[in-house]
């Protein structure tokens, strides 16, 4: 009687075989590599900073900075002086472009090939204030004047209201009167990391989404690997050896988790995002990979062929993707997305990578994610075991 082979040796052999198969499946190798390359390239192509300033075009004032400078700065506006109200209107209407050069603001018709002076920078003016001739003198004399405010259709209503306030404030200042009310004192309490002046860039916001895309790709690849093993009944050949159903399932889980984790780490390293808490990020990613491996078992067990595996993979993937997409558009998602298994993963990644959260802050998310991992992996295990035993 030969010596019984250890479970570890059996699982190791199946893991090795799965990795060889995975590496030789040209379709999945191509798709996986493509996703990795695209994700990394997209990250670096996305803007790394955000220009939050709004450019306010002004005409009719000899010294707009002197007249409006302080008030405009309080509203977060950058002043761009125009020679005429007509130029200003055409620029805000999108018929012409404004360029800031040493000699002042130049206005060129859109599409014009007229050369620009060296160092000219385009000024994206979406709001304009056309002051009438002699505005300051007339206002100081208490005469009625009319200021025309041009706004682009995309400017929010609150900014338009702010413009009205700006004009009123300017009128009081020019007339030498104080404001009719005393502004109340304001105390700002910043909760979490103060990102004033350093807003979250698209690049930062997309980081969890990119990691998630890689894990989703892994879901498909694993599901396809499992489905092929079932459809071609190679698993039956394995199960008439000393290998058990548990060995097969354990190896699939290990391959799925290792592969997902490996790819996610490659992406994070390539986008320079393994900081500030590498161990915490790796823990989050490991749990995410296990969750994905469990989901892949469900999808792989459900499919009868390539197309149906793809269909089931999509069916499982879409709900998992929702929290990642919602993270891109804060405030757009409903509360129910909190119950989705991927929610704690996305939130954890966002908190750690964007807001600098540590272990203590992330612990609740880790706990929920762990519970989901156990639930999904167990469900995948049970469904796959039943499928294998029914072959």
């Amino acid at each position: 009687m030969s010596r019984p082979v250890s479970r570890l040796a059996i699982v190791g052999a199946i893991v090795r075989k799965d990795l060889v198969e995975y590496g030789r499946d040209r379709l999945w190798v191509f798709l996986t590599s493509l996703v990795l390359v695209v994700v990394i390239a997209l990250f670096w192509l996305l803007p790394g900073d955000v220009d939050e300033s709004i450019r306010l075009g002004v005409s009719g004032l000899d010294d707009p900075v002197g007249s409006l400078g302080l008030a405009a700065a309080e509203e977060g506006l950058v002043l761009v002086s125009f020679a005429s109200a007509g130029d200003l209107e055409r620029v805000v209407a999108g018929e012409a472009d404004a360029w800031q050069a040493d000699g002042g603001t130049l206005v060129r018709d859109r599409g014009s090939s007229e050369p620009l002076p060296a160092g000219a920078r385009e000024a994206d003016v979406v709001i304009g204030m056309a002051f009438p001739e002699g505005f300051l003198e007339a206002t100081a004399a208490g005469e009625q004047t009319r200021v025309t405010v041009y706004v682009d259709g995309s400017v929010p209503a609150e900014i338009r209201e702010a413009m009205a306030g700006l004009v009123r404030e300017l009128a009081f200042a020019v007339a030498g009167h104080p404001l009719p009310v005393e502004a109340p004192g304001r105390v700002f309490v910043v909760l979490g990391e103060d990102r004033a002046g350093n807003p979250e860039s698209p690049r930062e916001g997309f980081r969890p989404v990119f990691v998630f895309m890689v894990l989703m790709m892994e879901l498909f690849a694993m599901a396809a690997l499992i489905a092929r093993e079932i459809q071609e009944r190679t698993v039956t050949a394995v199960l008439v050896t000393p290998a058990s159903v548990g060995d097969v399932l354990a190896s699939k889980g290990i391959v799925g988790a290792l592969s997902g984790l490996g790819q996610a780490v490659i992406v994070l390293a390539a986008i320079n995002s393994l900081r500030p808490h590498p161990s915490l990020l790796l823990t989050l990613l490991l749990l995410g990979s296990v969750m994905v491996a469990g989901t892949a078992m469900l999808a792989g067990s459900s499919g009868r062929d390539f197309m149906s595996t793809l269909f089931w993979g999509m069916l499982y993937m879409v709900p998992l993707l929702i929290p990642a997409l919602a993270a891109l558009f804060p405030g757009t998602a409903s509360g129910w997305i909190r119950v989705l298994p991927s929610y704690p993963l996305v939130r954890g990644l966002l908190d750690v990578q964007v807001h600098g959260a540590g272990w203590a802050d992330t612990l609740p998310d880790l706990g929920v994610l762990l519970a989901w991992c156990v639930a999904l992996f167990t469900a995948g295990w049970l469904v796959l075991r039943r499928k294998v035993q029914a072959l």
Binding site: M1, S2, R3, P4, V5, S6, A9, I10, A13, I14, R16, K17, V20, E21, R24, D25, E232, R233, T234, T236, A237, V238, L239, V240, T241, P242, A243, S244, V245, Q389, L391
Partner: protein, 287 residues
């Protein structure tokens, strides 16, 4: 050393409400080839699945090498080799890699994969991915895979089904070699010639019941008809007559036939396994 490699006693099995095995019993000794002969759906593959732990045994008793058969029993499974009807090989891996992978599942690290591949005529394709193998090559690799652990019991489910004569012959030779080595072989087939050529004993199975189990010779003697067919060319064509060897005047009639001018051919009319199967079960082996 146990005297019986496979022992099956009154095994019944149902898929849902459909009973497919109605209490079958048989034994296979070490070094013996038992041909399980029957049409598709007779219960041959179900029997193999139960004996290899792929299906749970619910009623009856099944032993392999004196051990009760249960699913996921690594001790039993370490001693058996299985050649499946479907070609369930890892197509992205080479023939050599397939064999080495399965050997590792048995704890064998130093498998002579190339030697095994040479045995089945695949040495020159050892490095090619199985996806590029022909049907016959895959079947030969399946056979080689069943042998990686030098099994004491071999379960072969239609091992030559749909193969060309050369591949079939290679596999038959291998089966005989394994039996000569001492392995008990349970061979399911619906090919009567294969069963006749290879089997020490043959079991006729139909609709989940074993109708007869004996050596091919005994089955033919018990159930067949001893006769000789003589064909003679005559002026107006060819005449044919059948001479029963059990008849009282068999010698005289046969002598007369042989001496007849225009003698063309003499054939024995020994019964085939298929004709006996049809006689016993009322249906053919195909389909």
């Amino acid at each position: 050393m146990t005297e019986t490699a496979i022992r099956v006693e009154d095994v019944r099995f149902s898929y849902g409400n459909l009973e497919v095995l109605h209490g079958i019993s048989f034994e296979v000794a070490p070094g013996e080839i038992l041909g399980f002969l029957g049409p598709n759906g007779a219960g041959k593959s179900t029997t193999i699945k139960i004996l290899t732990g792929q299906l749970p045994l619910k009623t009856g008793r099944a032993q392999v090498l004196g051990m009760e058969v249960t699913a996921d029993d690594p001790v039993v499974q370490a001693q058996i080799g299985v050649c499946f009807e479907e070609k369930n090989l890892y197509e992205l891996m080479s023939g050599r890699e397939n064999l080495r992978f399965f050997a590792r599942l048995f704890g064998i690290k130093d498998l002579d994969a190339d030697g095994l591949l040479r045995k089945v005529g695949l040495a020159d394709r050892a490095r090619d991915p199985v996806g590029k193998y022909s049907k016959g090559m895959r079947q030969r690799l399946m056979m080689a895979r069943a042998l990686v652990n030098k099994p004491r019991v071999l379960f072969l489910d239609e091992p030559t089904d749909g193969l060309d004569p050369v591949s079939s012959r290679a596999i038959r030779t291998l089966i005989k070699q394994e039996a000569d080595r001492g392995a008990a072989v349970l061979l399911t087939t619906h090919d009567m010639f294969e069963a006749d050529e290879l089997s020490d004993r043959v079991a006729f199975i139909n609709e989940g019941r074993i109708h007869a189990i004996d050596t091919p010779e005994n089955l033919k003697l018990k159930h067949g008809r001893r006769a000789v067919k003589v064909r003679v060319r005559e002026a107006d064509g060819v005449s044919e007559q059948s001479v029963s060897l059990d008849a009282a005047d068999a010698g005289e009639r046969l002598g007369a036939a042989v001496r007849a001018p225009g003698l063309m051919t003499i054939h024995t009319e020994e019964a085939t396994l298929e004709s006996i199967f049809v006689e016993m079960t009322g249906r053919g082996l195909e389909g």
